[in-house]
């Protein structure tokens, strides 16, 4: 895609004003870093608060009779049991049991509000329209709202200064509140492992809200570079890297997101694409799975590094799906897919870095304890 074809979020001019370095990402021109730099942005978000423009992500409203039950035909998740004012992590599956995208589903009373990845937005919309419209569900892409994420231990104080009600929200709560005089849809969630909020704000007030938050001395703008290192330390998957259409949710170590009611023996077991494969994987186990990886040296092990059980020889037993330097950990961190039996934390493996096998240990995820307000 030529740069001219890239889309811009409503905050584009503000990013430039803040000195952002812009890069193409999922069809949008997005800030990868600001003058502070990736490392300090990461540390600032963990220590105080960071503001992210995530307006490139797809915001979709689903409404109609039995909308939750209808959506369950696309995700192996308990949507029917999701209480009003609550949000839940989910993923769309395919007929092979693989993952087509991951998403957040919020129950906002008379409708569901879902947020999907930017790169999968068109495919997800087509998938939902194709499957849900015949069931009488209206699928509406919300294009008149921007999406901001405010993350970090200082997020509550910074947002509560504009809207005291958010302080009462707990992790994965959603609420409709008034901020700067306009209706915002707020969730207490994010993609950093920190406490924080995602705020769906009408486009005409998005820049004002960003400026109001940035006016708080604890809040700094954070780019995609630090967003990636923050989510990696938090052990959170990036669609297209740590999970994809060829990996089922059990292999992706996302079984926690499949509630009992959708599993074998549950009241609404199966009924989603690839159910046979996924339920069999839940019942019988899988021969590979996603794990955390902690390289022992200083050298980062990046995506596609081949993993081995031994320092020399032997077949490849896995590969790195995401890897880099973890600023809070103070060393390299990674996630990867390894063969069953080699997935236990503490297992010694070897990664091929520039032709040399370097030691790496299977590690517990997350690398950095979550700061959620439960």
């Amino acid at each position: 895609m030529a740069d001219d074809d890239l889309m811009k979020t409503v905050l584009f001019e503000l990013h430039l004003e803040l000195g952002a370095k812009m890069v193409p990402f999922a069809g949008y021109e997005m800030p990868v870093q600001y003058p502070m730099g990736v490392l300090k942005e990461h540390q600032h978000c963990r220590a105080q608060a960071g503001l992210f423009d995530v307006s490139h992500m797809g915001q979709v409203v689903l409404s109609g009779n039995d909308v939750a039950l209808a959506l369950e035909s696309l995700v192996p998740v308990n949507v029917v049991g999701l209480g009003e004012g609550r949000q839940r992590y989910a993923f769309f599956t395919n007929e092979q049991g693989g993952i087509e995208d991951d998403l957040m589903i919020a129950n906002r009373g008379d409708h569901l509000f879902v947020v999907v990845n930017a790169a999968c937005k068109d495919a997800d919309l087509a998938l939902m329209k194709g499957a849900l419209e015949p069931k009488g569900i209206t699928v509406s892409l919300i294009e008149d709202r921007s999406l901001l994420a405010l993350q970090g231990p200082g997020a509550e104080a910074a947002l509560a200064a504009l809207c005291p009600a958010v302080a009462d929200m707990k992790f994965m709560d959603v609420a409709t509140v008034s901020i700067l005089g306009v209706e915002c849809w707020v969730s207490r969630s994010g993609y950093t492992g920190e406490d924080g909020f995602e705020i769906s704000v009408p486009n005409e007030k998005a820049v004002d809200l960003a400026r109001a938050l940035l006016a708080d001395e604890t809040v700094e703008p954070i780019g995609l570079g630090a967003r990636d290192s923050l989510r990696l330390e938090a052990g959170l998957c990036l669609y297209g890297q740590d999970m994809d259409g060829g990996l089922n949710p059990v292999e992706a170590s996302l079984t926690w997101a499949i509630q009992k009611v959708r599993r074998t023996g549950g009241d609404r077991a199966g009924g989603f694409p690839g159910a046979e494969v996924i339920l069999a994987a839940l019942d019988n186990g899988v021969d590979r799975q996603r794990v955390g990886l902690r390289p022992e040296g200083r050298a980062p092990m990046r995506r596609d590094v081949a993993l081995f059980a031994d320092a020399e020889g032997g077949e490849q037993i896995g590969f790195v799906t995401s890897g880099g330097f973890g600023p809070t950990v103070g060393g390299p961190v990674a996630m990867g897919i390894v063969a069953d039996g080699l997935h236990t934390p503490g297992t010694q493996l070897w990664g091929d870095v520039r032709g040399k096998r370097m030691p790496v240990q299977v590690a517990e995820l997350p690398f950095v304890p979550a700061g959620f307000k439960r």
């Binding site: 870093q33 730099g37 990736v38 490392l39 300090k40 570079g225 290192s229 200083r298 050298a299 980062p300 990046r302 880099g324 330097f325 600023p327 390299p332 520039r354």
Partner: protein, 120 residues
């Protein structure tokens, strides 16, 4: 000081050449988090990959700018890779080479030429 198109700077010290990366290169790389230096007393040929440098963004190679022998490396930047961003054209030099034929230095850009090179 001389400069290569690979964004290295070269400084002659007697019969040695000190090699590092330019401020421009360090800015482009972003925060450096890992540096792997060659062993000392190794013979290298021009364009051999002698250093691996990794930033928060990506890994890059640094090529030997000249034929010669690596005689000293800067362990301080291995211990604290952030020095490469702090003082790339000073304390954060990478290695020193013993070079037989100093005349090859004439092939490289001077400061004015390098400035033109990075602004073009």
């Amino acid at each position: 000081m001389k400069y290569t198109e690979e964004h290295e700077w070269l400084q002659v010290e007697g019969d040695l050449v000190v090699v590092g990366i330019t401020k421009h290169a360090a800015e482009q790389l972003g925060d450096v988090v890992f540096v792997e230096l060659p062993d000392t007393d190794t013979e290298v040929a021009k364009d051999d990959e002698v250093v691996v440098i990794e930033s928060v963004k990506a890994a890059s190679d640094i090529l030997a700018p000249l034929d010669g022998e690596i005689v000293e490396v800067n362990e301080a930047i291995v211990e604290d890779p952030g020095k490469v961003n702090e003082d790339p054209e000073g304390d954060a030099w990478f290695f020193k080479m013993k070079v037989e034929d100093m005349s090859v230095m004439d092939d490289y850009m001077d400061e004015a030429a390098y400035k033109d090179f990075i602004s073009s």
